[in-house]
């Protein structure tokens, strides 16, 4: 495994797109959170004047774990895109064939890409952890690990996005189409999930049937559902009319989708003509 990772690293370390996207993502996490921080600081300063109820600053402990994870989750498309590029590159250069010809097994080839997806997710999570820590410290509040589970949800979201990108890359094979589909699918799923969200509210209010938030049952939204929008005053107030989240179902679905991406991508690569 270590040997295979070293080979992957030889492919990566001199690849400009890799460096650029990695730096973009690293800066992206910091910048995104900083922007959210600024906006909230303004809101926090303004809201009491408008007569709202008390409001925890989003980057204070223990809120920082949740806020940073949620805000950083918005740019997880970047590592997913990078993975899709790396894999479709192999198809484009036909190096996927050459690697097999030179003596990798098909399982090794696809396995190491999935391992790469895992590593990207881990590195993103570590980055988010430290970002949350720094923002928390700078807020001057006392340190707390409460809510750290959200960083775990972030990891789950990252690995899901990454594995989804691996699957799309293995199925589509062409860089442009794969990236395009990744964007379109994510947009489409968010749109559909909004419609389903509306449906859930309708069902609860008009039919008294609470199916939970149906929008959360879609592949990428399941992990989004676990890493919820951080609580704030507005959200707390609206909770009464919202459908009750069926958390266990979302968990099961999130795990099932993850397994689906993994097995589908592996099977496709191992069984088909290259």
């Amino acid at each position: 495994m270590v040997e295979l990772l070293k080979i992957e690293w030889m492919k990566l370390k001199n690849y400009t797109a890799f460096k650029v996207l990695a730096i973009f993502f690293g800066l992206g996490v910091i910048v995104t959170n900083y922007v959210v921080y600024i906006i909230n600081r303004e809101v926090v300063q303004q809201v009491p004047a408008a007569g709202m109820v008390s409001f925890t600053p989003p980057y204070s402990f223990a809120m920082t774990w949740h806020t940073t994870s949620y805000a950083s989750g918005c740019i997880l498309l970047l590592p997913a895109m990078l993975l899709a590029i790396l894999i479709t590159n192999e198809f484009g250069f036909k190096t996927h064939r050459q690697n097999i010809i030179d003596g990798l097994t098909r399982q090794q080839f696809i396995g190491i890409k999935i391992m790469l997806a895992l590593i990207f997710a881990l590195v993103s999570t570590v980055l988010v952890f430290f970002t949350a820590l720094v923002f928390g410290w700078s807020s001057g509040t006392s340190f707390s690990f409460a809510g750290i589970a959200n960083v775990g949800y972030f990891f789950l979201k990252a690995i899901t996005y990454n594995l989804f990108a691996v699957l799309i890359a293995v199925l589509i094979k062409r860089t442009g189409f794969a990236i395009g589909l990744l964007f379109i699918y994510m947009g489409a799923e968010n749109f559909i999930s909004q419609l389903l969200w509306g449906l859930s509210i309708y069902l609860k209010r008009e039919k008294s049937t609470d199916l939970g938030n149906i929008g959360d049952y879609l592949p990428l939204n399941a992990v989004d559902g676990l890493l919820e929008f951080p609580d704030n005053a507005v959200k707390s107030m609206s909770k009464a009319i919202m459908p009750q989240d069926i958390t266990w179902l979302v968990w099961v679905l999130a795990a099932a989708y993850l397994a689906l991406f993994y097995f589908w991508a592996t099977k496709k690569f191992v069984k088909s003509d290259l």
Binding site: E3, K6, I7, M10, K11, N14, Y15, T16, N89, F93, K94, T95, R97, Q98, N99, I100, I101, D102, G103, L104, T105, R106, Q108, K271, S272, D273, L274
Partner: protein, 305 residues
């Protein structure tokens, strides 16, 4: 023991039968040519034995071992269809990756780059290479680790005449050192010049297989010799040569006069005969029945539609 043994190998792409029950053995230390027109299934065949394509039916084994394992492929140097490298990496870095996958050290890299005359360009990116240079890099990659078996799919593709001659010489040299080379080609001349054995494939069907000698003489009338002669005055030459003993037929061609004679007749005898009759030949050579002729006899003369 056969280096590669193929049994009833078939491959369909939907309704198209790319290979139909192809069976043959590649003996050790041969240069085994797989000859066939474009689209005849040569690359499909090699793709299957290298595990990048899945066979629809049949089996194959390398060195008598039943399954094609990655460990076996590491010991085979292969160039399949196109040179496949990372465009953004230099020649040397690409070879480092190949060597690493094969489980070889990097000490071979300088040596193989020198063999294919790319050592000066080792730090250039693959994307800056010409087609011929890419092909030579692919051959260098195949030579990494000094494998005993080499698989070359159209090795001279994209090379200039000097490059073609060099690669053919390299293949013969490798064979003299005891390597087994399996080579696909649609160029008859190449197979004839380089190979010791040949399998002819057409439309996915194995037409014939054997040593080049066997294939060339299979079903052929062995008692004739083909010669071509010419002089300044071909009309008189024709009249004179027709009186010679042992001649079966003589016909005028663009290049001179083509003779079909008994195999007892030698070039020296023909030369003396003409000289004694007062005609000096400016051309005389004995033609072997070429593989090209056999190929056309076996596969038919029209290209596949």
């Amino acid at each position: 023991m056969a280096v590669l043994s193929i049994k009833d190998l078939s491959k369909n792409y939907g309704k198209i039968q790319a290979l139909q029950n192809v069976s043959f053995d590649v003996p050790q230390q041969t240069v085994f040519g797989i000859l066939g027109p474009n689209g005849s299934g040569k690359t499909t065949l090699l793709g299957i034995v290298m595990d990048v394509l899945k066979a629809s039916g049949g089996t194959f084994s390398w060195m008598g071992e039943q399954s094609s394992t990655a460990a076996q492929r590491k010991k085979i140097g292969t160039l399949l269809e196109t040179p496949n490298f990372y465009h953004y990496l230099s020649a040397e870095r690409n070879l480092k990756i190949a060597a690493r996958i094969k489980g070889r050290g990097e000490e071979d890299i300088e040596h193989v780059l020198k063999i294919v005359n790319l050592y000066q360009r080792k730090d250039s990116k693959f994307s800056t290479f010409s087609l011929g240079m890419k092909q030579r890099l692919a051959i260098a990659a195949a030579l990494l680790g000094n494998p005993d078996i080499l698989v070359f799919d159209e090795p001279t593709n994209g090379l200039d005449p000097a490059g073609i001659a060099e690669i053919r010489e390299l293949i013969k040299e490798l064979n003299r050192k005891g390597k087994t080379i399996i080579m696909a080609s649609h160029i008859l001349d190449e197979v004839e010049k380089v190979c010791t054995h040949v399998a002819i494939i057409q439309k996915g069907v194995l037409k014939t297989v054997g040593s080049v000698k066997e294939v060339m003489h299979l079903g052929e009338d062995d008692t004739t010799v083909l010669m071509e002669i010419a002089s300044d005055d071909n009309d008189s030459l024709l009249a004179i040569i027709q009186q010679m003993q042992g001649l079966k037929s003589a016909s005028v061609t663009d290049a001179g006069i083509e003779l079909i004679c008994d195999d007892t007749l030698t070039a020296a005898q023909v030369n003396r005969w003409c000289f004694e009759k007062g005609i000096v030949l400016n051309k005389l050579y004995v033609k072997r029945k070429s593989l090209e002729k056999r190929f056309l006899e076996i596969t038919g003369t029209k290209s596949e539609k």
